[in-house]
Symmetry: D2
Subunit: 376 residues, 4 copies
């Protein structure tokens, strides 16, 4: 039933499911252990995901083109990759830059205290933008994983913000100068791998955008796991981004609160939160990509990786069906109704009534849980 | 469907569901707001819970007998309460003491730095034990909510532990001297209302028991919310208590990680965790009370309180049914099987094979989630 | 030494230290216990704080004027309070509204699902603004403590944001219509007393401001405890607010990460974080009020309250002195220096050098800690 | 001043400071980045730490002897290492086994679902015990970093506990059979690298010990960072271990609450917590090793590593001096005094007095903070 299925949960390209090459390609290395899986060739990943019903793949520059490749090697790799995309109908809607693996970025990329590192990070990012555009990407994600500190003695945070802004402004200018059809999506994370990362939540990122030279080009890429690490409600952050017209991309996964970055399979740890997220995306008819930024448990071999990928999409579709059910459930909808009357702005107010009334949210939540558990 | 139901999720006394008088009786006061509901008479609570299918109620001394009542008042209250129990068939399986509301306990009860407070706390507890036994309780719970500090300058933690141990030893002696048929269950909590509470988790409590004079009389009362506040897996803690023969009672509710004590309706925020907890209790055929130590949202009126109570029990029964389904699902059970062969203790070991094998946990977890979501 | 002192840590009005009436007036009620201290008359608070060296007090409407007071009572209370201010030279730089204690606000004030509650909340806030302006306040704080949910089934977060925006827009219009010299400062909090509060961090609040009708009138009031509850670096949030010209007010206190709202004495739990916060405020010559939004431990009597107030101010001044020391410490300043040269934007980059270099942050942090511990 | 110093904070062997080979030898690899430092030869580490004033080093088997070394290679490596120990006077008081790096341990070592892995883990541990004893170790630490799950569907936690117990019992039998003078110290951690690790806190580990065949041989190795990850007060856990006679070893470092395992320099993030820990160890005259299980920031080169090591020891000695100061400070000691009188067990109790009294903990804590900040 799970790996295919005639049960209505079969993913298809129109569902806009995407995966990063780095997600299904994750080899299972962690802070305490060596890789447990071999690297998968990008073309192999594309073919497998196409079989499973995905719409496309996303990538960091070095997911496809190894660091240090010659121009000729790069061109050959890109040519073969584009051929595989053409063969399978898969797209590359989003691209990004690896600004965290190289030891040169140990103190950050755009906010390193070393001006040479900041310049190198911009050069590398311009090249990654070129690569992404060549592959058809219309969204460019910036995740500043190393933009932070372990000790606040190291940097004045005002200076770091100024450097960060200079970098994003520079990249927007570059996109404009090249007349690329590309929007920038900023991705926040509170910590890990740095002790504290600048602009730690989707809220901080949204606020930062308004201080840029070209705010209209820049939005956010909220990630379930990153907001949950700080114990924040993810759907609220996404609603704020939607409200501001700034939801340019989204990273779907799972995460337990207050711990290391787990990047769990979407819906596997907090199905209620996942349900309200799918509800928000579907109710608002958000047209963007449903990108799974997660990876298989380290206990898995390659078969487990594809189970993980298939399960991510299935769970989304299961929850989507439940959203439709919620939206037409008569008892639930009845409980959500409030009287239409518009009260006077100046009163008098019947405080006794306002204090006594109940909102029936226990019943509403119980019905929601029963719907989620499939017994309704 | 929810408030009664012919759907197999109808609670009955043999399910051993209990509620504290303080839980359904919670008036909705919180640190920032006044009560939103009137107090409910204990006899009213007993009657309503009996109607809903509960087995019994539990209580703090002052939930039933107000602080400062005369002996005559106390006796009258107890008499009427016992009559209601008899009328409804409801039981009082557990009793406890309020050692936290009175300002006298501001620096703790058993571990207050003031020796007079420590003596008073013991006296109050002996009286509460008498009351509980009179009502038929066979489990006495100790929750040391104020046993802690805001600053470690105030107390040497070794001294505090010694005072704590003296208190529990004293109470055990008292129970023995009275020849009561009563076991003691210690309940841990990491913080709130104190900055840090001594013996903060079920693990610390279990360890403490072995240092007592009568460890055989003492076990634990783990609470979902308290272990989750610290981000710990609740079912693991319960398994350890079961393993040690020390699961004397349990408090079922819901809680998000890393925040104030929410005491949410059981199963309402982490249905996966709730499922594995029910699985553990049912698989181990644990005979104890399923006690709901939680309360209705503050948005609710009295009707919402009973929705909350009914929903708590229904969710347990829904999850119990899913546990039975999990235990006979052929695909799930197949994935759980490992070869029986017993390897040599000294090798040789085929490390290449051990490194390459996958455990299929992504698939196993996806099937579990689909079962939980009712699409399997 | 502590309660006065000729040691250079004596607070004076020019230090701009303020306290809320509700902070030193806190009676020690908590979710599990009754008040432990008597209410203090506002005029008594003003006189005591003036003696201790504070600049002023802040207040919620109902901290001064009880809910339900007649117009005559209100006027008498205000008159006497103003007389005490005049007698002592104390100011009221900030005012706010209590939109959380009254059961009417159980589902929120500006975002209650009940339109009557939303209208009442606005009316109450307009009156509180009038009161604040009458007392001389130039900053009006909005803390939406009840603007949230326990279950996302209850409200679409996009609707809630729209209601929230309508409310702030309405209040800004009111301030303009009255030609008040008053700025609005929004205060974020992630949770408690609601399960999840909308606009949970200073970042989310900052972003929200840009969507208002009069963003120039609105800034933020970050609070140490609220950002720390979510494990975020507070000084980074304050730096972002400063960078955006939006730091209109600040709430100083202490808090341990991932637990209930503690409102500890400033500097008492994380002196390193407090040091970098003071450094940021002093280095940026921020002219605003140093407001202590915290309260004495519940173990304290009234004498303990004044110890708490005096200690809050002393610790700020101690840290301020350490900031001055940090800024002239030759070894620390040497470590903070980077070469001035401006690298080429296009490379080549000496990656080997960038990868090999160290940043000496361990040494820098150790020197900072030794300075903080007073052994340098 | 920092790197040597005639200032009384110069570490010497009698202070019993130890480091793991893996701590100063950490190459700075993390989940998102490659190593930034070269591996340091164990003999180089020993010499450098001896110069800095350490007492000894601790090691995992594979820190010294690479996985897959022949018997001859092992013997040569061990011989050279012992020579360096002899040359420098350094000791190896503790040894442990790497049961987490090898992909074979992906589902755990003692609790892997694969019986072959469990057997291999025991064999590897017996060999590591032999190595440790050969080097003079008298404490053997077990950290079960991979003993856990990402999904509770994978293992019944009761079974996992039984496997865990079998393993420790087996190892105790082995130690007895070899007549080794060796005690076992169990180290808890709540999560990372596994989603949830079994026996997640020092409390759970202490409780587990009482269920073993030879509890007298087994104690705990609490680690600051691991207890702090769960937001628990570390000194309380250590006090409980001391109280039970089970503090066999300790891991000193720093960690912010609710995030990935940071292993920060001791005292660098929570000096107040570090102060009360040092106070507990020194006040109880605990004779064990002060082991620093931490590593330099990833921004550092090798010079930064030695700054880190030197700073760890200096900070301990600075705090030790402050403990002595606290213990003789007349004002602090006066505040800690309570009347000696022993109250009657049966009352009457003067509740009015008990409710009204204050404990002066604000003043006590303020004095403590001023002492800590060096202004007292």
């Amino acid at each position: 039933m799970m790996r295919g299925g005639k049960d209505g949960y079969q993913p298809r390209p129109e569902h806009h499911f995407t995966f990063g090459l780095w997600t299904v390609g994750n080899t299972g290395r962690d802070p305490f252990g060596e890789p447990v899986r071999f690297s998968l060739a990008p073309t192999h990943i594309v073919r497998k995901l196409a079989e499973l019903g995905a719409y496309g793949v996303n990538l960091h520059d070095n997911d496809l083109v190894p660091s240090g490749a010659t121009a000729a090697e790069r061109d050959r790799i890109v040519r073969e990759f584009k051929q595989t995309l053409a063969d399978t109908g898969m797209k590359v809607p989003m691209a990004t830059t690896n600004l965290f693996s190289d030891p040169a970025f140990k103190d950050g990329a755009f906010t390193s205290r070393d001006a040479r590192v900041r310049a190198y990070a911009l050069q590398k990012t311009r090249a990654a933008i070129d690569l992404g555009v060549e592959l058809g990407a219309t969204t460019y994600v910036c995740w500043g994983g190393r933009e932070g500190v372990e000790t606040n003695a190291a940097k004045d945070p005002r200076t770091a913000l100024a450097w960060y802004r200079d970098a994003i402004n520079h990249l927007c200018e570059y996109v404009r100068s090249q007349r690329y059809d590309l929007r920038v999506a900023l991705e926040a994370k509170p910590n890990e791998p740095r002790g504290d990362i600048f602009l730690p939540t989707t809220g901080h990122m949204l606020a930062f955008i308004y201080t840029l030279d070209h705010p209209e080009m820049v939005g956010v890429n909220p990630e379930v796991a990153h907001e949950r690490m700080a114990g924040l409600d993810f759907s609220h952050a996404v609603a704020q981004a939607l409200d501001a017209g700034k939801l340019f991309h989204i990273d779907l996964n799972g995460q337990q609160v207050g711990r290391f970055d787990q990047d769990l399979r979407f819906g596997s740890d907090d199905p209620k939160g996942a349900f309200f997220l799918v509800k928000l995306l579907e109710d608002s008819k958000w047209p963007g990509m449903r990108h799974f930024d997660s990876h298989a448990y380290r206990t898995e071999d390659e078969a487990g990786v594809w189970d993980f990928a298939a399960g991510s999409m299935r769970t989304y579709l299961i929850l989507k069906e439940k959203v439709e059910q919620f939206n037409v459930d008569p008892e639930i909808q009845q409980l959500l109704r409030e009287p239409d009357e518009r009260p006077s702005a100046t009163g008098p107010f019947d405080l006794t009534a306002l204090r006594a009334r109940g909102y029936a949210y226990e019943r509403l939540d119980q019905l929601t849980m029963e719907l989620l558990l499939g017994v309704r």
